[in-house]
């Protein structure tokens, strides 16, 4: 039994005439990163708002925030992907739905993928933000009130700056998660890195070369993120404020 290795395959032209297979994979990486970055912007914005709401003394806001998190956490990402891609255009008003369905190919799967990943991850970010705020001593909020700060000022100047510093490490792993989970978007036709490796395998039958290359690229991206975030952590660190090592979280 012998597998025919052919590492030169990356420099052979791809069938669609856009260059060699190596650039195929790199363009896949481009889509992976574009999807992940845009989705991360949504996740961070919505997650911070929802996570903060869940720590306020306002009962309905807490309940709303909890419902939001439960909704996005208890449905598999792949099912959510299908809901955004197949189901949402049908449930929207007809004109809007038709407009979504008629988008030009890469965008028709790109935007649903971005929204899906963004909101899915926002629930996980919200959970981290809530945990971060609640890990602060209760006296911090009270001190804010005693100084005459309004509730939003207490959050803006006292609680959130500390909470975000504490949750920086788990947020880093959420960011790496979003890069990895963006591969699920291949099911709705987004040609990102994993999809590129898969179609390279289908065209060339060089299974292991294609997947090895994709794996190495993912590892390199992970390394870049880790190093980058370590730099950010150092930049924003406040001397004396020791970030506690969080409890282990289940997740991917």
């Amino acid at each position: 039994m012998k597998y025919n290795w052919n590492w030169g395959i990356f420099w052979q032209p791809a069938p669609d005439g856009t260059g060699v297979y190596f650039w195929w994979l790199i363009s896949g990486l481009g889509w992976t990163l574009a999807t992940a970055l845009l989705a991360w912007a949504i996740a961070l914005a919505c997650g911070s708002i929802v996570g903060t709401l869940r720590t306020t003394p306002v009962a309905w806001a807490v309940r709303l925030g909890n419902a939001y998190v439960e909704f996005f956490r208890n449905i598999p990402l792949l099912v959510q992907m299908f809901l955004w891609y197949f189901v949402l255009p049908e449930l929207l008003p007809k004109a809007l739905g038709d407009w979504m369905k008629q988008m030009v190919p890469p965008w028709a799967s790109f935007w649903p993928a971005v929204l899906c990943l963004g909101f899915y991850t926002s629930a996980r970010v919200a959970e981290q933000v809530r945990a971060g705020i609640q890990s602060l001593p209760r006296g911090q909020g009270m001190a804010g009130t005693a100084l005459g700060l309004k509730l939003h000022q207490t959050y803006r100047y006292v609680l959130l700056p500390q909470a975000f510093r504490i949750i920086l490490p788990p947020l880093t792993s959420e960011f790496m998660n979003i890069i990895k989970t963006s591969a699920v978007a291949l099911t709705i036709g987004l040609v990102e890195l994993t999809a590129r490796a898969r179609s390279m395998q289908e065209f060339t039958f060089q299974v292991f070369e294609a997947f090895t290359a994709a794996t190495i690229i993912y590892i390199l991206v992970t390394l870049v993120v880790v190093v980058g975030m370590r730099y950010v952590e150092k930049r924003v660190a406040v001397p004396g404020l020791i970030s506690a090592g969080g409890a282990p979280m289940a997740g991917h």
């Binding site: 039994m1 439960e70 449905i75 792949l78 790496m176 591969a183 099911t187 395998q201 289940a250």
Partner: protein, 230 residues
């Protein structure tokens, strides 16, 4: 909005969805959980070992698995397992591995990396004095681990292990990329056959939600009970 909604298609396909689809999903979840926790615990013990020959491979394995998307891992093993199998039994060509065993192996090996990190934290959560006490009683490594450290580590980490299993349950839906008939696969097949995408995907979402939500509430209650006992 729901005027054209065909509830009948759901009712008609219930036996197929649950008898074939959900059975596959739950079997895969249970097997991958068992295998993943056993292998993950071994990996955690290796990682905490002071022998480099044990902790370096374990750390490499865990970090590798954790930096690659699950979809890519599923593809990897789908093609790799037949070759590895052929290589192990010395066959002349890759052996045939059914979709079921291919996905059991994939999820076991993938989830093991995540369970390993949880168990590592669990083992470290047990006070050092417990190990010393075991040594003082004359127990060897396996006895200390098996009778003193691991039972406490499991107990401390039970909620996180179960939460990870709920995530595993949701993740098994990704076998869709291999066209396997798990619960979502079954729903997707009927959705495409009958042109009833909305009904089937919404129904799948509801079923997954109900199961995951119920389980996560059980975990939460369990966590509270354990917290009181400690």
């Amino acid at each position: 909005m729901f005027s054209g909604f065909d509830f009948d298609v759901i009712e008609r396909s219930l036996p197929y969805l649950f008898k074939e689809g959900m059975t596959f999903t739950l079997t895969l979840t249970a097997m991958a959980m068992t295998g993943g926790i056993v292998f993950g615990t071994l990996l955690a013990m290796m990682r905490l070992s002071s022998y480099r020959i044990l902790n370096v491979p374990a750390a490499t394995y865990v970090n590798l698995m954790r930096s690659v998307p699950l979809v890519l891992v599923i593809f990897w093993f789908y093609f790799l397992v037949p070759w590895m199998g052929g290589w192990i039994i010395g066959a002349n060509q890759p052996i045939q591995v059914g979709a079921f065993w291919s996905s059991v192996i994939t999820f076991t090996l993938f989830e093991a990396a995540y369970y390993a990190e949880i168990m590592r934290a669990g083992i470290q959560s047990v006070a050092r004095g417990q190990v010393w006490a075991g040594n003082a009683l004359g127990l060897n490594y396996w006895q200390t681990m098996g009778t003193i450290v691991l039972p406490q580590a499991f107990r401390n980490m039970l909620p996180v292990l179960l939460t990870q299993t709920i995530i595993l349950f949701q993740d098994t839906s990704l076998v869709y990329v291999l066209s396997i008939t798990d619960f979502l696969g079954a729903a997707a097949k009927i959705a495409q056959r009958d042109g009833r995408l909305i009904e089937m995907y919404l129904f799948a979402a509801v079923v997954y939600f109900v199961i995951s939500y119920a389980l996560s509430h059980l975990v939460k209650r369990l966590q509270e009970r354990i917290a009181i006992i400690r």
